[in-house]
Subunit: 103 residues, 2 copies
Amino acid sequence: MNPNSSYYAVIFTSRHSENTEGYDDMANKMETLAKTQIGFLGIESARNSIGITISYWESLDAIKNWKQQTDHLVAQQKGKQDWYNWYKVRICKIEREYEFFKD
Amino acid sequence: MNPNSSYYAVIFTSRHSENTEGYDDMANKMETLAKTQIGFLGIESARNSIGITISYWESLDAIKNWKQQTDHLVAQQKGKQDWYNWYKVRICKIEREYEFFKD
């Protein structure tokens, strides 16, 4: 991450359909691929009744490039066709942050 | 939510300690309480290896008020003392969003 300058997050919130065949593989592939993209800073995700994946990026341009990356486009298409009943994407600017670590 | 004007999110990412006694009760209580706060728009959360809770707010002032709400301060204290090994809070401005629903 980059605490000294502003950065951006993509909040991806989703609800799966019944058909999740191939989803885990694709999710892993996309996470690996995201990490190779210019401007990528980090990714966090968790799922139970809904899934939340947040990816962090240096700029809005980096986010736009990732959205249009060819293999990612295929994954998005497959997601809409098969894996998701619903999702929402929010592009955010991080205004400030703080962190706690137990000693 | 409020799609017509900008709004804010608090991304709360956390890792539990071994001691989570009382955590679920408190989390439910805080979610119920957050929903009564002025400027509250919504909340989403998921947990497996890490927990992610995102709350949405009309303004930075609403976020500040919620951070300082008395019962919430008690919960934050208890969280640092007992429930979390690590957490990170990011305050974000939603720049834009889009949504997909399966027909």
